[in-house]
């Protein structure tokens, strides 16, 4: 068995990854999103770390963070029926996406990596633009529709700030189901997490209250990405010296960021996040095109 000769290099690497991921977790939670998108796009755009390793670690971070949230949310607000309904397509397609991502890098080598970076760049640019235009609604008005009502998805919850039970009616469940197929595929392929899409889908398309949407989206990601991470785990893409400080940093950053978030104007942080995403997206597209040449 080999023992370490130079410890400082390892410790320096551990601390750098922790600090980097801490900042990502901190900024992302204030902006009202998960850290997965920032983590994956930054590391793929600005470092040479292999995409499989980055995506596996991104998914592990998404799983760990959302599970800790789900534990609290499922005691009160999160809706387990919506979660199961949308987690089923998300899970299946996230696994397909994970295998597709591994296939791309495994069979096409650096050309596959280039395609992956280019596609991720375009998706990150799209997410950045989405953040500019999305306007979430606290309590959307809805009469529900026939198909969605038949599914019996609604579960009323007690809203402490209003001191009353909030009842709501949902719409467009089949459309949300289809969207989750696509989002699952993207999440599994790129190791992104999916808070950027699932929360808005439940809030703006199914017309669930904002709190239900954000908490339930965490539960869906915690279920779906559990399955998506297994192929990466099997293939050995999780390397402890990189994965552990990354997950720790993202989680500690998110926890401290959540405390700061209540005193910060999230709107400005969202603008900063959008700029960062656009910057990372352009960089990824450029790197992808350059690699293809």
């Amino acid at each position: 068995m080999q023992t370490l000769v130079v410890i400082p290099t390892t410790i320096k690497f551990f601390v750098e990854i922790f600090a980097f991921c801490f900042s990502i977790g901190f900024v992302a939670i204030i902006a009202g999103t998960g850290g997965g998108v920032l983590f994956t796009s930054f590391l793929l755009g600005f470092t040479s770390i292999h995409p499989d390793i980055v995506r596996a670690t991104g998914l592990l971070s998404a799983v760990a963070g959302t599970r800790m949230g789900a534990q609290t949310y499922l005691r009160s607000i999160a809706n387990i029926r919506i979660a199961l309904f949308l987690a089923a397509p998300y899970t299946v397609f996230a696994v397909i996406g994970a295998y597709f991502g591994l296939y791309l890098t495994g069979h096409f080598g650096s050309y596959g990596v280039a395609i992956l970076k280019l596609m991720l760049g375009l998706i990150v640019l799209f997410i950045g633009i989405l953040y500019i235009f999305i306007k979430k609604t606290e309590y959307p008005e809805s009469e529900g529709d026939r198909i969605t009502q038949k599914l019996g998805l609604e579960i009323p919850y007690y809203e402490k700030s209003l001191d009353r039970v909030v009842e709501y009616k949902l719409k467009h469940a089949p459309l949300a189901f289809l969207i989750c197929c696509g989002v699952g595929f993207i999440s599994g392929t790129f190791g992104l997490g999916a808070g950027w899409a699932i929360g808005p889908t439940i809030n703006l398309i199914m017309l669930a209250p904002l709190k239900v949407a954000t908490t339930t989206s965490a539960v869906i990601i915690s279920i779906g990405d559990t399955a998506a991470i297994v192929p990466y785990f099997i293939s050995g893409s999780l390397i402890p010296i990189f994965a552990v400080p990354a997950v720790m940093g993202l989680m500690v950053g998110a926890r401290i960021g959540a405390r700061v978030a209540v005193r910060t104007k999230a709107r400005y942080v969202r603008y900063i996040l959008t700029l960062i995403l656009l910057f990372a997206g352009i960089r990824l597209v450029w790197v992808g095109l350059w690699m293809m040449r």
Binding site: T10, L60, T226, I234, I241, F242, M248
Partner: protein, 147 residues
Amino acid sequence: MDDEMRVKSPLEGRIYGEVSGWLTIIGILVAIAGVIIGISGNSIFDYQSTVKDLLSGLNEEKVWEKDTYMHTELHGYWFLTILHTGDGIAMFGIATVVYGGIAGMICLFASMFRSREILFYKKGLYTILAITILSVMLLLAWEASLH
């Protein structure tokens, strides 16, 4: 307060949240302990070259082959045989995080059997959805055991 009690969220959801959440916390703590043990010397990696190779863009296969004393690509549950090393413990912690979600789903599914009303709610739609998700997860976990 009465309202709060009246709309208590479904048990199956709470069970999933508690089981997967606690296993995630335990897994992360074990993984951190493993990495600390690894950094302090009891490791299968030559960390200095691992860091260099990670940053130079080597894929996971090459990293495992080149930088571990085993000099082979590692698949599936290899870490169970080296639990006496820091990296074995760290990977066991990571596996606990990964499979914590599967354990949570199994408990969610089992809790649906507590009444016929829950099991067959909306013609058993949610039971079928839970079975679908769980099947995908278990299939992947089984596949890992074949490597």
